[in-house]
Amino acid sequence: MNYINRHCKIQKRILSAGGEVLYKNNDGSLDDFLEAGLKSLHISYPKFYKMDRPSKLGFLGAEVLLRDEVLLERYAPQEVAVVMASAHSSLDTDLRYFESMKTIASPALFVYTLANIVAGEICIRHGIKGENAFFVLPAFDASQLYAYVEMVMASQKTKACLAGWADVMGEQHDVFLYLVEKTNTAGLDHSVEHLQKLYQMNYGKVDRRP
């Protein structure tokens, strides 16, 4: 049996973790929101500003998910896997790169024109070196994510898996990340039903911060 021990969301300009709203702001662009969200967590990571929107979203989600937690204190780098999915892949960045090609193509944009770069940014930040996979799906699919994460967790070497959905196109964004482990600290079984409920839960109604 595996367990969902942590979960977080970035939806409708609300940054939340475990049902608690950490930051929300409807002013400005999505980039403004993401950069302000990172600052609200008192995190200094200059490379964040160079990332494309999919990477910023996934990176920020992982920061929220793993706040006050250093995975590598409990696991070897190879024991932590990353399994993610999105609908739009890197299309948001692909289009921006296409625009840049009309003058001089941007090398900095080009390096982000792959769906799984976000997983790489998360792995670099948290020192993760385990299995990783990135799926492009029509919509959030709890069954597919559940099945793949279970398969990864069944291997001897994987003991934890950072998984979830991180989708962005223009200003539209939708992030739901969760941490699956073999040990139970939150009392939530890793199941399709629980993933579906957590994804659909409206965290925005729970606001314990001023």
């Binding site: 200094s44 200059p46 500003y49 160079k50 001089i104 090398p107 900095a108």
Partner: protein, 85 residues
């Protein structure tokens, strides 16, 4: 040269998304790579694009890159020597 160095600092911050820095945070002779500003190989490519976009200068010999992009001052010197009228 002083104005060019100031312009370059602003352009580098914008082109490389160094939003955590202000122009005054970058020393004229501070190394741009590794132990200095910590720029990487992709940033080097963006600096080449910057020269082309803002100063219409194409780097003829990539081997010259490390010397040209050593600091903002060396970039300004290269621009001054190679700027077309």
């Amino acid at each position: 040269m002083e104005k060019l160095i100031g312009d370059l600092k602003r352009q580098i911050i914008e082109a490389l998304n160094l939003k955590h820095l202000k122009p005054e945070d970058i020393g004229d002779e501070q190394p741009l790579f590794v132990e200095g500003l910590g720029l990487d190989s992709i940033d080097a490519l963006e600096l080449i694009v910057l020269l082309q976009q803002h100063y219409n200068i194409k780097l003829a010999d990539p081997q010259e890159g490390p010397q040209i992009f050593k600091s903002v001052k060396t970039m300004a010197q290269y621009i001054t020597s190679n700027k077309t009228a």
